[in-house]
């Protein structure tokens, strides 16, 4: 790597600005050596496979033999295929089932936990993170057992309470909500901790001033708390949106994408091309998903900017 002197000297965090001549060569070269491991892995396992796959997305290839150039065929095939759109639709439905519910539950819990006089705050916060540290695959297995229609604990509980028992995993109506419950169970504690940290960054003086002006507690919540934690809430929404659209392990383990493909999420659909050795289409699907994910991220970034 060559050192170009034309590169504008960016702000030094240290404030000192030694010229290259004053700096000993060890100090000049050291940062390159320090970032080298990352750069090597980035080039080898990031850039190279991405370029390779980008080329592959314009071919028809089954993993062996010569690849055939097909132009935009893979992309037009996907964009015209029902399976692709229905995988996105499944993810969108899961998003609707998960994200609004999680934001509401986590916001309520975080506001309650932010009260210094609440007893057992530490305990509540610790327990909230238990689901977050459990291995998803183990929990997915437990979900299969707990939500079994015939012998599962949930249906037994519903039966005992005189409520109707449901085909949680085997009906197209309930399979998505059951997966949504797993996702909510697993990540809501994380959401609470993130929102709580946002609440705690609001200075107490803001509330004191509001109190002096005679603002009620509800009024304070609506006019102070919500606007000030909006950034944190949006951050949470972005993260969870990306996570839902990449959801893979939950449907892979719990439902295998069924029944009747009703839980074949965007992430699982992408993986299915691999099983069919349809690598050209799989590659094209990868890039369509990247485009979608970037689009969602940009949309939220814009939202953040506009309101500020």
């Amino acid at each position: 790597m060559t050192i170009t002197r034309s590169a504008a000297p960016a702000r030094r965090p240290s404030g000192r600005r030694p010229t290259a001549s004053r700096r000993p060569s060890g100090r000049r070269l050291a940062p390159y050596a320090f970032v080298l491991p990352f750069v090597v892995l980035f080039l080898a396992f990031g850039v190279y496979p991405l370029i390779y796959t980008f080329r592959l997305s314009f071919t028809s290839w089954s993993g062996s033999g010569p690849a055939q150039w097909v132009g935009w065929d893979n992309y037009t095939y996907l964009l015209g295929s029902d399976a692709f759109w229905s995988s996105l639709a499944d993810s969108a439905v899961l998003w609707l089932l998960i994200v609004p519910a999680q934001v509401v539950i986590a916001l309520i819990a975080a506001v309650l936990l932010n009260n210094a006089k609440l007893r057992m705050r530490g305990f509540y916060r610790t327990v909230a993170l238990v689901p977050f540290v459990t291995p998803l695959v183990a929990m997915a297995q437990i979900w299969i057992v707990v939500f079994d229609a015939d012998y599962g604990a949930v249906n037994r509980l519903l039966g005992a309470a005189g409520l109707p028992q449901l085909d949680w995993l085997t009906s197209t109506t309930w399979a998505k909500p059951t997966l949504a419950l797993l996702f909510l169970w697993k990540t809501t504690g994380f959401a609470i901790v993130i929102l709580l940290s946002g609440l705690q960054s609001i200075p107490a003086s803001v509330y004191e001033a509001a109190e002096l002006d005679g603002a009620s507690r509800t009024r304070q919540l609506v006019s102070i708390t919500v606007p000030l934690v909006r950034r944190v809430v949006l951050f949470l929404v972005v993260m969870q949106t990306l996570a839902v659209f990449q959801m893979f392990a939950e449907p892979y383990v719990v439902t295998g994408g069924g029944p009747y493909g009703s839980t074949t999420t965007a992430g699982l659909y992408l993986y299915e091309h691999l099983g069919r050795s349809d690598l050209g289409t799989g590659s094209a699907n990868s890039f369509l998903l990247v485009a979608l994910v970037m689009l969602i991220s940009l949309l939220f970034v814009r939202l953040l900017r506009e309101r500020d």
Partner: protein
């Protein structure tokens, strides 16, 4: 802290219900794994500590390659975790305390890696591993993503807070740059490193998407991959196994997989929460 009033009874009810919901699946699974297989099905809600047995665990160890799963996960944890914990702060150090040509471009690469969804790289990486003949190898499990971009990003922030005077004093004493990293920076950022360690262990232990794609041989599969194919494994190894037996072993395996991380979490809670909150710095 805001002037707080005594929380209403409704607050407690809400939080207790939520807490119960968070604990119920884990508690139920662990308790049920200790029951006789038949009663898991006939009486899923009953608990009788008098009849607890380790029978499900014994059968599970016979039928499922969970030992090799644990071993593979341990190997990947040590190698990949070691690489991340040493090289990510090193790169973070370079970004925080040096100015060098190309810095912004390289840091852009870090940010790009952060934004790229894992699942998108799965297909390209698998093809690459096939080309290299690395499918079902430790290097395939360890190397991609070994120097984690998020870890670099976070450590850059942590190290930026280390006073420059400390580093300059060491330079005056004739310390080389790498020596400064090892004997000044690393000890000073120990709390941040602990948070990173806990988060890294959790991510690697729970990682599933990449291991399931790149390991087809049972002997190379990590714990999570072994868990994912449990039902098939149990029925495959025990012909004619009934529903109850399979479930008993399934719950035993899932419970045993939960325990290591829960123990780490309870012991190192503070570092854990720091690690999770660092994630929100990204926003």
């Amino acid at each position: 802290m805001r002037r707080a009033s005594r929380p209403a009874i409704g607050s407690h009810v809400f939080l207790i219900v939520l807490t119960a919901a968070f604990l119920a699946p884990v508690v139920w699974a662990v308790l049920s794994s200790l029951k006789e297989p038949a009663t898991i099905i006939t009486d899923p809600l009953g608990v009788d500590p008098g009849s607890f047995t380790l029978g499900n665990y014994r059968a599970m160890f016979e039928d499922v390659p969970i030992g090799s799963g644990f071993l593979n996960t341990a190997i990947v944890l040590v190698l990949k975790g070691g690489l991340t914990l040493f090289f990510a702060p090193l790169a973070g150090f370079a970004f925080a305390k040096y100015r060098f040509a190309g810095q912004n471009v390289i840091f852009g690469a870090v940010l790009l890696t952060l934004m790229l969804p894992t699942i998108v790289l799965v297909v390209p990486l698998l093809l690459q591993m096939r080309e290299l003949g690395w499918v079902n190898t430790y290097q395939a499990l360890v190397l991609p993503g070994a120097v984690d971009a998020f870890a670099i990003f976070w450590m850059r922030q942590v190290i930026a807070a280390v006073p420059d005077e400390l580093l300059d004093a060491a330079r005056v004493d004739g310390c080389g740059e790498f020596r400064i990293y090892v004997s000044i920076v690393l000890p000073v950022i120990r709390p941040g490193l602990a948070g990173l360690a806990v988060l890294t262990v959790m991510n690697i232990y729970n990682d599933f998407v990449w291991p399931v794609v790149v390991t087809s041989q049972e002997s190379m599969q990590t714990l999570q991959v072994v868990l994912a194919t449990l039902a098939q494994n149990i029925t495959g190894n025990r012909i004619g196994a009934d529903f109850a037996t399979v479930w008993g072993e399934l719950l035993a395996a899932s419970s045993i997989a939960l325990i290591p991380l829960l123990v780490v979490f309870v012991l190192l809670q503070r570092h854990f929460i720091n690690g999770i909150l660092a994630g929100s710095v990204k926003g």
